[in-house]
């Protein structure tokens, strides 16, 4: 019970059935304040469905959700104020300017009128988007829209921020800008973050903890570094005819020694979460 109150989020047995299909099959986890967690899984694993249940966009078929020990469905207005959401698809009002989009959000979240303009301008400055303030959103590039959506989710100072595939479809340079921004939010505002992704690199670089989800089930919950340690840190990939054999080693030296002895084409690389996923499920996250 103590933990329920201290944990910003506690989820127990969360499940969602669609007609004849189980999208999320009973997941449980809890987050301490300030954690940076990744929900990693292939397409269709149930990441978006999970986020939608946690943010009130769809109703779970069963299971419990608590924010600081408060039942989300009993006190949804109170708990929703703690949550910021960046949905998978940008949902800005394209006919409104950046400022108007943020202003709308400020009204909905009950930010007092006298503070709205100041808070908006402060955040635009924090994210370097001041130059876009009065332009209609429909003129923005994908990366700028994405940053604005993240910004909007922060306007009411949420304690927890859900980001559903924040960098999907963006070029590598913009992706980096967004990564830096999210890390800055976590560090400077101590906002708890749950980010879904199917990019291995994104989960490894950003998250201190990853939940790996497959077919609606969480199959792993842990520190990415420790998960990789558990596999051995290095892989020897051996190309035999048309298939690739993988051997795992604890150190680079051992892997290199094995490479010397191999008669096939081979290479040594570091272990990734993809290997963890492959070992557990027999398939890859990204095909």
């Amino acid at each position: 019970m103590d933990n329920l109150i201290n944990n910003i989020l506690t989820v127990a047995g969360l499940r969602k059935n669609y007609k004849g299909k189980t999208a999320v099959d009973g997941v449980s986890f809890s987050f301490s304040p300030g954690e940076f967690v990744g929900l990693l899984g292939p397409n269709g694993a149930g990441k978006t469905t999970t986020i939608k249940m946690l943010t009130g966009l769809i109703k779970p078929s069963s299971g419990m959700i608590y924010y600081y020990g408060i039942d989300f469905y009993e006190k949804s207005q109170k708990t929703k104020a703690l949550i910021g959401v960046v949905p998978q698809q940008n949902n800005l009002d394209r006919d409104l300017t950046a400022y108007e989009n943020l202003y709308l959000h400020a009204i909905a979240y009950g930010i007092p009128k006298a503070l709205r303009r100041e808070k908006i301008d402060e955040l635009l400055d924090f994210s370097g988007l001041t130059g876009y303030r009065n332009r209609p959103v429909k003129q923005f590039s994908g990366g700028t829209m994405r940053r604005l959506v993240i910004l909007r989710a922060l306007l009411h100072d949420p304690k927890i921020l859900f980001l559903d595939e924040p960098t999907v479809g963006l070029d590598p340079q913009i992706r980096r800008v967004i990564w830096d921004f999210i890390v800055k939010i976590n560090k400077m505002k101590n906002t708890t973050i749950l980010l879904t992704t199917h990019y291995i690199e994104e989960a490894e670089r950003l998250c201190k903890r990853v939940l790996i989800i497959n077919n609606g089930l969480i199959i792993v919950d842990g520190d990415p570094e420790q998960l990789k340690d558990g596999m051995g840190r290095f892989v020897l990939e051996v190309y035999k005819d048309d298939k690739v054999d993988e051997e795992f080693f604890d150190s680079r030296q051992e892997a290199l020694a094995a490479l010397e002895n191999s008669t096939f084409t081979a290479k040594v690389r570091g272990v990734t979460l993809e290997d963890v996923f492959l070992r557990l499920t027999g398939r890859r996250i990204n095909v």
Binding site: L57, I83, D95, L104
Partner: protein
Amino acid sequence: MFNGMCAVLYRELTIYRKRALKQILSSSLSPLLFLIAFGWGFGSGVTVGGLSYISFLIPGLITMNSLNQSFAISAEINISRFYFHTFDEYLIAPVSLVGIAVGEASFGVFRGLLATMIIFIYAFLFNVPLSFNPLFILAILLHTFIFSFLAVTTSMIVKDHSGQALVNNFVITPMIFLCGTFYPIDKLPHAFKLLVYAFPLTYSTKVIRAALTGGQVSFIYVGLMVFYCIIFFLTSLWALRSVEA
């Protein structure tokens, strides 16, 4: 409740301001065509229940035009639900569903009232006398709220755009043609009358016409309008509660 309502109204009115001219122009044309076709076309000699036909027609055009404009929010909410997902913002926010429903409906009423003003201008131009009184104001508010709440309900129930089009074609259009907007319903065959008396537009047309032309207003009909307004308010809440994104 107020945060949700204010947020919805802020959004709708900010967007409306950017499109106002286009919207007003497009809601001015079709009633004008009706006036020319039926008002002038039939000539001034025709009378209906003691009124010249054009005096009979003008209140009908008011209910038609305001209904169309109020109900039009339905299609727009649909677009924001299915295309741009902007509606999700309200569902995620810590606001009450009552606020969302009342906010959207108030915007529908606002558009309905603008549409009403357009017909008043036509009435003036066509030299048709109308009596503007508190009863009319009450009636037009009830009328536009009824169809705005119906619009909110519809937009939450339908699964896609074609569902919305189906409602427009099978409910709204028949209602406009059957409920006494263009002709008195007592000439309709009995079976049709039963149908017609199930539609709320029948009552709002009768009350609004009576109020504007100095006729006898039936308070039973006013009561029925209140009844429909409450029913559609409740259905809009129910539909909002069960909506999923």
